[in-house]
Symmetry: C2
């Protein structure tokens, strides 16, 4: 998950002067923000500060973040013609600033901890491109998917090519692991996942095969499609808090690693309840190699830094 954010005073201070997109697009600022949590929290890896939606603009879909409402795509995709117009661009040019951030972060980190890069998966990116922002029903996304599968697959083909190249470029620039975020794919059942999401996600993981960096495949609300996500690819499969970690690992298979799965709202709880819940996750992992302790989704703005610090320390000290 994104480590930096509004729960940190130093991030809020920077956000008073710069927008989220300005930070993402200015390597010096993105480096500063990437390193903020590393200085404060005992984490085992740094996570590139960036945004899932960055590839949309060079494809021809400019967007911005509206205060309190999240992302807003200026002209969301409505039909086949809109999809045909989208460019498959070269991320080493249009997103060169992200790659520069990676190089600078690696220099700053000097191998103290590895750096994780990321991108959005085709289903999740397509949903933003079609809905224009967050959605609770994904009605427009599924309408296009069901009523014009050809157009849907054309859109996801383009997204998959761009995302695969972007992740390859991130690896060339120095990230030591990559995470593919299919944050909203849990709104699909397994049949629809297989038909509409899996081919495109698989293409991305296939493209990363043999590049020597571990790959993480993340989603939320995915209890019913964990096996399908594993089949689509990724060395590590993420699971959110809705499913007990051992049950999720059973479904994914013990030959894969698992990431998860503390409910981020537990970081708003009294310290002892949070630590007990973390122990429960760790106990279900059973001390097996291949468990990456993490939150089941992003950290909430109202979280206290002290809770995050205590959680990281606690996980490091845990013994079965």
């Amino acid at each position: 998950m994104r480590q930096a954010g509004r729960y940190m005073a130093e991030y809020r201070a920077l956000r008073e002067r710069y927008s989220l997109l300005e930070i993402c697009r200015t390597p010096e600022l993105a480096v500063t923000v990437t390193l903020q949590p590393i200085r404060r929290i005992e984490v085992d890896a740094a996570i590139l500060f960036s945004d899932l939606l960055l590839p949309l603009e060079p494809m021809g879909l400019p967007f911005d973040f509206v205060r309190g409402e999240g992302p807003s795509v200026e002209t969301p995709i409505r039909n086949e013609a809109d999809i045909e117009r989208l460019s498959v661009f070269e991320p080493r040019e249009a997103l060169a600033h992200v790659l520069e951030t990676i190089r600078l972060v690696r220099l700053e980190l000097a191998n103290r901890v590895p750096l994780i890069g990321f991108a959005g998966a085709p289903f999740t990116l397509a949903s933003y491109a079609i809905e224009g922002g967050h959605s609770s029903t994904f009605a427009l996304t599924k309408h296009l998917m069901y009523s014009n599968p050809k157009a849907w697959h054309c859109l996801c083909d383009k997204l998959a090519v761009v995302v695969a190249e972007f992740l390859k470029a991130q690896i060339e620039a120095g990230v030591q692991a990559v995470q593919l975020f299919d944050s909203w794919v849990g709104v699909l059942n397994s049949a629809d996942y297989r038909e509409f999401a899996m081919p495109h996600t698989r293409r991305i993981f296939d493209a990363l095969n043999g590049l020597g960096v571990p790959t993480i495949h993340f989603g939320t609300g995915t209890a019913s499609i964990l096996g399908e996500m594993r089949d689509a690819g990724g060395d590590v499969i993420g699971a959110d808090w809705r499913i007990p970690l051992d049950e999720a690992w059973e479904r994914i298979g013990r030959d894969h690693a698992i990431q998860g799965n503390l409910d981020p709202t537990l970081l708003l709880a009294p310290m002892q309840r949070m630590l007990t819940a973390a122990d429960e996750v760790l106990a279900r992992a059973g001390g097996r190699a291949g468990h990456i302790f993490n939150l089941g989704h992003g950290i909430l703005p109202m979280t206290s830094v002290e809770h995050v610090q205590a959680l990281a320390r606690h996980v490091h000290q845990y013994r079965l």
Copy 2:
């Protein structure tokens, strides 16, 4: 699910003159809207037109519907004092208009189809009372739940008493089945469900025991807590489209009936894809008694009435 709504021209026509709350609070209008789908669609039951949130106002939490944004509670609950102030009211007085609607609908229906009443479950109602409207993270709800369990249980106790009485009053007024909507409870994992939601939901189902009407227990995103929801109560357990119907029924147990589980966005698909998906649901039910065909969540405003009509006809004609 609610049958009437913006997908019907006759409902939209009425909404040009009256707000959603005006319709809910005026028996003649609520009767008209309850009967609109019965005249157009071959359904096996009528569903009372009402709103989950109606009990909040007489408890001391006035709310309204903001165009395009859903419900908005004027002064959301923030602390223990706010909860202590809430009234446990007599629904036969404060919600007499709903009971009058029920009596009038029963007269109009003259036993052609049965009438289903409903109410919100404590977790879902509490989340509206605390968040003030829809939420994507339920951060404030869980914050109160984790940090002040005593206050949480006090709130849910009050809600459970009110909802149990309200459903009993609906049964006295003539509804022939009741549905308890815990629409958002799928954001809890099974441990949290057992601790924070189940005792209150169980209390409601216990209160309805022996009253001679079937009870339906509904939620979305509940793949991991279907067994817990069954333990909390209900003759019929609802399942959304994220889990295949046969797998859901396995988890619920064959001694219970099941309701579900077509994705409502499939009603936006071309006719043939919608019917094929309905066949898949019916095939997984395997022709067993105890399956109520339904959508996995509410019907979307952009749905065409022709699709709903064709779906109802198709389900009635289905033979394994």
